[in-house]
Amino acid sequence: MPITFHLKRPPTVPLEAEVLSPDVVGSLTNSEIRSLTVYHGKRQLPLSEFFDVEGEQSDDLVFHGALNKVRWVGRAMSRGSITVHGDVGMHLGAHMSGGRIEVHGNASDWVGGEMKKGLIHVHGNAGGQVGAAYRGSNIGMKDGVILVDGSAGLEVGMRMRRGTIVIGGPARDFVGLQMKGGTIVLLSGAEIRTGAWMNRGTIISLQPLQLMPTFACSGVQNPVFVNLYSRFLQSWGIHLPFAASEGVYRQYRGDLAVSAKGEILIWQPA
């Protein structure tokens, strides 16, 4: 039986609730969970001030309500699952190293910030800095998968090193900024400066992109790994075209300002 959390009243200022993680609540009784400390602004309050909690001792957490101002849900979680029915606030699944998070609603900025492993699936829109490095850090997402069905904001996958990010809707500027590895898939394209200053890694776009001047076309191809990726993403209903009869990928190398080891593949239907 999962533990369910119903939001009783929306916080008036941000509610920092990094305790909402299977690693913290998994072994606790119902009353222990309800007395966990959360921060409403600078005030320490028991979790029960904001949530009705049902169930105990489970690694599966289910949330109901508009959690827009609830931050750090699933921070550094290593196991179990979190399901949110509603919107959720910043830093969802930041630093997580395992388990899965599913949001039936929108998420805010820093979804999966500096995550190490695991899966995050946002069915609505996400904010900026999906899977990104926090300011000053050299390395963003290290591994894992982030799927956003809707749109995403600025700096998706900034400085990521490994792992996969798929954005279903349009993304804004600086997708893959200073990327060092991993793969970003853009099903509906992005605004400008995609792949700026990328060192390594791959960005695949199924829509035309306006590229940085420091990317050079290095030919057309249908790489085998796209096929493998497509199979990997199939279970979430995502299809990457790869058959030569359907079209080709135009390959661009860059960013020449830093190296020419990153690649952007843009799908061109036949």
Binding site: Y134, R135, G136, S137, N138
Partner: protein, 547 residues
Amino acid sequence: MIRITGGKVYDPANGIDGEIKDLCIDDHGKFVASVSGGRTIDATGMIIFPGGVDVHTHVAGGAINFARAMTPEDHRRTQAFMRTKTRRSGLGGMAPTTFATGYLYAGMGWTTVNEAAVPVLSARHTHEELADIPIVDKASLTLMANNEIMLDLLEQGEFERAKQVVAWYLWAAKSYGIKAVSPGGVAAWKWGKDAKQLTSPIAGYDKLTPGDIVTQLARICDEMGLPHPMHLHCNNLGAPGNIATTLDTLKHLEGRRAHIAHSQYHAYGGDGWDTMRSETTQLAEYFNTHPGITTDAGAVVFGDTVTITADGPWQHLLYKLTGRKWGNLDVENETGCGIVPYTYRPSNLVNAVQWACGLELLLLIRDPWQVFLSTDHPNGGCFWRYPEIIQLLMNADVRKECLQKIPDRIKSSMVLPEITREYTLSEIAVAMSAGPARALGLKEKGNLGLGCDADLVIYESDPDVLKMFGHPRYVIKAGEVVIEDGDIREAPQGKEFLVKPAYDPATDEFMRPLFEDHYTMSFENYPVEFERLEHPELRDCIPVTER
């Protein structure tokens, strides 16, 4: 008033080596023969040291503040100091915030620190930061060896005038002494060049060499009678084969007082990064035969840190080697500084040699009154890691264990594996307190004698040296118990030491036109107002010949 009874006292300044002895402190925070009333601390079975003195650290001013801004990722992973009713919040880590700096130093028993690099132009900023470092007493050194007005005077052979100008600058900065960084090298860096040879003229000058600056500035410090001799960061820092430059520099100093900063960075042989080796035996031999000169180790500890130095060319090189962040700030007429985050790794030849060199110097220089504990914070490592170095000095077995992490091919480039010396407690007390206090000319520091400042640290005796020095039982500063059982009890404001060397009043009018030519602020606004210092304490200047 406090009476401390039954403790085993280490007070090398007074030849006391582990005697059971009572100490009494009066209401003015000084040691006295007896007190009646007040608190009694039973220190039976405990060890008492004079409070630590850091002769060379970078804790306040434009450069470290630049480093703070450049390393938010480090601030996030470090332990924070929470705000309480009596304590300000702060962050530790590679470049701690000001309040945290005071708490961290006091927390391990250090009670006096010397900020070793202040450009006059931003001295006002440095003093404001020093005022925000609680508990410890502070001193600061003014950067002088690349000041173009002074260099011009030396080039023209105007020694007397140069001396007046240096004294004028020192009072303008309201600081305690003179720091010389890579003489001529920073001035050359402003054209993207360096000064590596002591006997070749500096870029932009016809005659003046780094060697001339070294000799003449040391003489100026002696003739002005500064309590602390010239504090010298030699040319060619960090470069393989720089031992030749260092020994040459020391020759230029003969007959003068001097303190050589972070000598670990100046004791390398080899002719490239892949042949670099330790030459500490040569350097230690020089110190062993020249008892008048002092140094601090500038030891390196493995791990992350951020390097900060006025040595701009070195920092550009380090940036090119690491490909990481790089900050650089050139200060008009006076100096410059560079900032590069860095990780010292045991598997890296250069880093391993650096680590060994610091310990080797501490162990090979026989007289602990000549070589002091420092990491050139934050360059070789953060000051809060001093207990780790103390452990390595006191325990040859721990050193052996650490050496096991170092690849064999590197071990032949160092002499550390052959050294068996272990520091005694009394020697540690010299290296961390009594020695640096004496070198700084602070007679009432590092000294538990009557009339001296009641700054002391009480440790629980523990065979685990790291634990013992990392977590003192009590720290007392100016007679106040500031740390007790690991908690900060009080955070009083410390003093700031400075000097006012005599200079010809006509120097003002001499400086004015030059100033207007070289600088971009108004002449009247340049000197730091004495009133801006919090708890200043003026110290006397006595020319060396009259001592």
